[in-house]
Every structure is written in C-alpha cells, then in structure tokens.
C-alpha cells in the first residue's frame, strides 16, 4: 500500500519535474525576448568595407595598408566603412551599433574607431570606441570632419575626403605614417577630466563584468595576434556614442 502510494507520488513528481525541465529548456532555447530590431550591417570583409563603391582599388589598398600598419603598431583598430544607405536609422544610431556588432577595437579596452560614410544621406560620422574617447574627442572628431573630409566631399571627391579623414584620425591616435595635406588642430579643450575618465573606466569595467558574468558568458573571439594573418575581424571592443557627425 505504502509502495503503491509512493509510486503514484513519484510519477506525479516526475511529471512536474519534467515539466519544469522542459520549461527551462524552452527558456534557454528561446533566450532573450525580442529586443529592438538591429539594422542589417554589411559583412566585415576587411579594414575597408566599401559597400557604396566610393574608392578605387589603389586607394582602398593604400588605406588598408595604413590601417594594418597602425593596428600592428598600436593594437588599435580603425575601420573605414561606406554604406549604400542607413536603412532609415540616424547615423549616430547606425554607427555605434555597427561598432558593437563588429566589435571593433581590443576587447576590454575598446580601442576602436570607425569612419562611416553614407553618401545617399550625405552624412559622415567618426564613431569612437569608449577607450579612445579621451584622444579622439568629440571636438577633435568634428574638426577632422570639417577640415579634412567635408571640403573634398563638397566637391564630390569622396576618395580624397576618405583618405584625408582616415589619415587625420590615425594621426590623432598617434600614427607615425605620412600623409600630405592633412590638417590637425589639437583642441586644448579636453573632453574629459582625468577624474571623470577614471570613473568612466571603473563603471565600464563593472558593466563588462556584469554583462558577461564570472562564469560562462561570451568569450573573446580568439587571440588578438592571429587576426592579422588572413581574415580580419573585430577584437570585441564596444562603443557608447562618442564621436561627431558631419553633413554636406
């Protein structure tokens, strides 16, 4: 009698447990609920992604060479992107999401920057990763756009504008290379005081840990150095909306 009772209780409990397990499984498969839609980003095919076809082959090669050389020397990733259109998103929105989706910059240090050109919307943006906001400040980014990019863009010379703009960004970030005709005006106005920069870094570290947790979570995409051979991919850096936008 007792055994019979236990068996019934057992099957009922087992049913409940199975249900719980099933729900858990569904939960983990379904993952997170659907969040706001992301734009469709182009494939990260290299350091220069010329979807809008604004660059000639030699120019593309030249810029790619600079970016590669710069990344090898400084571990900082700069990427040049031209897009066909912004899919209805504001360029500021498109830019930081693109940077996060591609993970430009070193993971944890977020030392990445993107030069984003949208000829259809006639907008250009320098998107700056968290880790470079102190050097490539909003004011400096804007000066680069106004002085190096827009004059050429206004004449319809996209290639020259992109070459000058890229060189100026790299120069500000400490590139030793040579590019004639690039204007750099260093603003004395600092964007961040050292204290607020420190706070920002601390918050960011907390944020990162909070996001991935101490167990599991997302892991980096391989070792940094292996990337320079063959294919190119982002290092896992993140963006928070720093930079500047220009229109022509």
């Amino acid at each position: 009698m007792a055994a019979r009772y236990m068996r019934d209780w057992g099957s009922a409990a087992r049913a409940i447990c199975s249900l719980a397990l099933f729900l858990c499984a569904i939960h983990s498969v379904a993952g997170q609920p659907g969040f706001a839609a992301e734009p469709k980003f182009p494939q990260l095919s290299g350091r220069v992604v010329d979807e809008a076809a604004l660059l000639s082959a030699p120019a593309k090669e030249r810029i790619t060479g600079w970016l590669l050389e710069f990344e090898r020397a400084s571990k900082r990733q700069v990427v040049v992107v031209t897009v066909k259109d912004l899919q209805g998103y504001p360029i500021e929105d498109f830019g930081y999401r693109l940077g996060r989706a591609w993970g430009i910059g070193e993971k944890g240090r977020n030392t990445g920057a993107i030069l984003l050109v949208a000829p259809k919307e006639r907008e250009v943006r320098i998107e700056v990763g968290y880790g470079l906001e102190g050097e490539l400040t909003d004011a400096v980014s804007r000066a680069i756009i106004e002085q190096n990019i827009l004059p050429a863009f206004k004449q319809g010379n996209y290639e020259q504008g992109i070459i000058n703009g890229t060189a100026a960004i790299l120069k500000v970030l400490g590139w030793k290379g040579d590019a004639p005709g690039v204007i750099i005006t260093q603003e004395s106005q600092e964007d961040l005081s050292p204290l607020s920069l420190l706070i920002l870094i601390i918050l960011f570290v907390i944020f990162r840990f909070g996001r991935s947790g101490f167990f599991g979570g997302r892991h980096g995409r391989g070792v940094w150095g292996s990337r320079s051979r063959g294919g190119f991919s982002g290092g896992g850096g993140s963006f928070g909306g720093g930079g500047a936008t220009g229109r022509w």
Binding site: G10, H27, D138, F207, G210, G213, G241
Partner: protein, 200 residues
C-alpha cells in the same frame, strides 16, 4: 527490504532530478541582470552629469556674444540647477514617482539646451567662435551618449523584468530572491521629446 529500498532510491533520484532541473534554470540570472541594470543606470547618470558639467561653460560662452538672450540662458541655468540638485533616493529604480521626476528634470534641461542652440543660430559671430564650436560638438556628443546609455539601460531592464515575470525565473526569484522587484524604465516618447534633432 526490497520494497522499502526502492521507494527511497526513487526519492533520491527524484531529488537529484529536481536539482538538475533547477541547475538547468539559471538560478543566478536575477542577481546578474540586477547588477547589469545597476551598471547601465550608473552610465546613464554619468552621462547626464557630463552634460550638466558642460552647461556653465556653454552659458558663459553664449552670454559673451548674445547677452540679450537672457531669458533663454536663465532657463538653461535654472533647469540645470534643478536637475543637479534633485536628491535621488536609493530606491529610485523601483520608485515610479522619483524616477518620473528625475526623467522630467533631465528632459527640462534637454529642452532648455535645445532652445538655446536654436537661438544661437541668430549669431553668426558666435557660430564661428572656436570655443563655442568645441562646446557644441561636445554637447552634441554627450546628448548622443545619453541616448545610447538610456537605450542600454532600457534593454537591461527589459531583460531583468522579463526574467522576473516569466517562468521559470519567476519561480526562482520567488524562492531565492523574494526582495527582487520590477524596475522602472524610460519611456521612448519621453526620449524623443527630450532630444530634438537640431541641425547645426
């Protein structure tokens, strides 16, 4: 002997089974998401603070060229002091009134700043002033960072609240984290109102 042994084995098996079921559920999800929302919230506060820090310099620069816009400038200064003087209660994320008040005071500052930047259009001299241009681009960048921080916060809260309200997270929270509460979040409408696009 055999009869008594089997039910006990089964019991142990069931307990193990149940424990596995619990392990399959992420029992740490609630506190982990909770920490994420806190971190995202700190970033929101940080960016709002950054905007408030830009205001005195901006007001001073504009006042140097456009004294007659006293009304607009005063509105900005007042909105700033209101926004920065507001005492944030520690439970602001679970406190709808305080959260709303915070949101409104920041929106008021955003609105006042946007009006200031519109007024500035009348002063070509100011618009070509290097200091002003630098401040303007910093302000623009900060507004952008605020909207990114807010969006990140909205997403983390959405994740946290969903975990708290759906099964099995709801059961886990009910047993292990009874103090966990659904958090407040920004409404998008407010955000759209707050940061009007100003063409520079």
């Amino acid at each position: 002997m055999i009869r008594t042994f089997f039910p006990r084995a089964r019991q142990i098996f069931l307990i193990l089974f149940f424990a596995m079921g619990l392990a399959a559920c992420d029992i740490n999800a609630v506190p982990r998401y909770d920490e994420e929302t806190k971190a995202a919230w700190s970033e929101v506060l940080n960016q709002y603070q950054r905007r408030a820090d830009l205001v005195p310099n901006l007001v001073e620069t504009v006042a140097g060229f456009a004294r007659q816009e006293k009304e607009t400038l005063t509105a900005v200064v007042e909105a700033r002091s209101k926004a920065t003087q507001m005492q944030l209660p520690p439970d602001i994320l679970n406190n709808p009134e305080a959260f709303k008040q915070f949101q409104q005071s920041q929106a008021a500052l955003g609105g006042a700043l946007a009006r200031l930047l519109v007024v500035v259009e009348k002063y070509p001299e100011l618009k070509s002033n290097q200091n002003f241009l630098s401040l303007q681009s910093q302000l623009e960048g900060t507004e952008n960072r605020i909207s990114v921080a807010r969006r990140d916060y909205i997403l983390t809260v959405q994740k946290y609240n969903t975990e708290l309200r759906t099964i099995p997270g709801r059961w886990v929270a009910g047993v292990l984290y009874p103090e966990a509460e659904v958090k407040q979040t920004f409404d998008i409408a407010e955000q759209a109102k707050e940061a009007p696009k100003v063409k520079f």
